[in-house]
């Protein structure tokens, strides 16, 4: 551990650049899925534990399209449309029935969905780790110390465009306004003539499409494995819990922060701690909130 720290500061400070770049890429992926989660959580009060599996499913769709000869960058819109349809189906079959019940029900139902997705993907694609080799050029920086594949930059740009598009959509379009109105007060929105059932269905499929985009990015810059979904779900939950609902800049900042944190813990302490670091962050936020709350309580006493 000390030796790894020494590498970072004395021997090869350039390694930091690689870590930061990787942190930004992984941060972009988890910010996207966390934003989708915050959307669904805020609008329909459903905690989607299958979030990470949606990401992985999108990744596998891109993988299948790639094997069929579609370039991964072109696959992005196709996967988003497919995932939106999938999300709509899931909404009609499962989510609509748990939306009115208590929150634990939605949590558990989506956990069941996550098990189901994992196993179906496992049956179709097998448990091996897969990735897409896009055969695009790599850039070498700093005397070949840093490798920066072209495809990573391209996907980062696509994701940024997508995020901006979603934000503008939520702000400007009629449907976006309806979604925000429903999130504020569902009954009032219904009274004013908004079809909230449609809004819910649309929100959920929008979330699935966003997850699909994150999945395409995972398939390009990371690896796919049917059982990796739960780590993305946990990271999304950690981010949303830390940043709060309806706080988009907060979600994105926390997402990139967590990406960097993971890269550094992975390098300094060892790869085993990488997954644990997200959970540790979640626990630290919770402990901090508890201390805040207990202070408030003392005031009341």
């Amino acid at each position: 551990m000390l030796f790894n720290l020494q590498i970072l500061f004395d021997l090869a400070p350039i390694t930091n650049v690689q870590l930061i770049l990787d942190g930004i890429f992984i941060g972009a992926v988890i910010s996207l899925s966390a934003y989708g989660l915050a959307l669904v959580w805020g609008v329909m009060n459903v905690k989607n534990l299958a979030q990470g599996d949606f990401v992985i499913l999108g990744g596998y769709m891109a993988f299948a399209l790639f094997n069929a000869g579609v370039h991964p960058v072109l696959a992005l819109p196709i996967v988003m449309v497919l995932m939106a349809m999938f999300g709509w189906m899931v909404y009609i079959l499962i989510i609509r029935r748990v939306i009115q019940q208590d929150m634990f029900t939605s949590l558990l139902a989506t956990f069941g969905l996550s098990l189901l997705l994992q196993q179906v993907l496992n049956l179709i694609f097998g448990p091996e780790v897969q990735t897409i080799d896009s055969k695009m050029p790599n850039y070498q920086l700093f005397d070949n110390a840093i490798t920066l594949p072209m495809v990573k930059i391209l996907s980062l740009v696509m994701v940024a465009v997508l995020a901006v598009a979603v934000v503008i959509f939520m702000k400007k379009s009629r449907m976006g306004q309806a979604i925000r109105a429903t999130a504020q007060d569902e009954r009032a929105a219904r009274v004013l003539g908004i079809n909230t059932d449609n809004v819910y269905a649309f929100t959920f499929s929008l979330n699935a499409a966003i997850c699909g985009a994150a999945g395409v990015m995972v398939s390009i810059i990371w690896v796919l494995q049917p059982f990796y979904g739960i780590t993305y779900s946990l990271r999304s939950f950690a981010i949303v819990t830390a940043a709060g609902l309806g706080n988009l800049p907060g979600v994105i900042t926390t997402g990139f922060g967590l990406g960097l944190l993971e890269q550094y813990t992975g390098f300094v302490l060892g790869a085993e701690y990488q997954v644990a670091s997200a959970v540790v962050m979640l626990l630290l936020v919770l402990i901090y909130r508890q201390i805040q709350l207990s202070r408030k309580r003392q005031v009341v006493q």
Binding site: L107, F111, V279, R289
Partner: protein, 351 residues
Amino acid sequence: MTGRSYLLYAVILVLGVFGPIMFPNYTQQMALLWVMVLMASTWDLLGGQMGYNSLGNITFFGCGMYISAVVQISMFYNVADYTSAFGAIKPEFTDEQYFTGLFLGILAAGIGSVFISYLFGLIVFGLRGPYFAIGTLGIAIAAGQLTGTIDYIGGGSGISMPFFPGDIEVRAGFFYLLCFILAALTHIVLRWIYSTQFGLAINAIRDDEDKAEAMGIPTLKYKQIGWAITAFFMGCIGAVFGNMVGFIEPVEVAFPVPTFGIFMVAMALLGGKGTLWGPVLGAVLFHIIKEATWTYLLGWQWVALGLILIINIVYFQEGIMGWLQRKYPEFFGITVDVSTREDGKEAKADG
């Protein structure tokens, strides 16, 4: 207790004791069944009776397993040497050493898990509803990952447990009996707890925690006690299970969050949460379904289980006992569950 409930207990006792003698090929399966009954029942203490849906009770299962392994080995050998040899050393335990180690290990596992539950409780019991579920789920997953990094207890490659001195049949029967005794003990303790004031208090916490606190119930203390009871039995059964399997490893055996961790919730919900017998019934049914899908739907068994979980939660949330209670209240009230039904009513009147 009525005459009929004595009869029910007698039948279960006879089946439990003579089961492995009648069907010797299924001893392992039946031992697993009792493990699952215990898991579902202890989950229901928090999830059903107290309204705190934990997804991380499996943490204590794994902690108990590792605590007992360390205790059993460290009594006579150096644990670090033992684990670093990856099974190359085959240490000899005499009969006496083995059994004292085993029983001390189980006890230490229970007590150690209670201690761990106290520490985690300080963190997670400020959370409510879905946040509690996510927090505990995170703890369970992190526990599996972090255990894999500790080389002292074998890291990711695990520990093989001491060998049982005796035949395979004797071994299977011995561990079967341990599982059965623990499950029965758990049931008796839970039955007693639900009939005391403590049972009423945790029901009050489920119905309305703020009001319960306003009425003077020390909610945090009661939640901690409830979790400690769960942790004690989960730790004990973890120790027994680890010895029964013979080889423990962090992700698949000790902290199996996606399998046992979620099965126990599914079982309690299938049987009907918040009842004494629901989790037991649910565990039996679930185990049968699980084994049937394993036998007849090989390859698709997990898909089938996921589907069952979704259908159970989305379309049949009250569970079998809840459905029966609603459908035939008089019949139900008389036969098995007099005490808990009355508890539920009084708790509601209190709240």
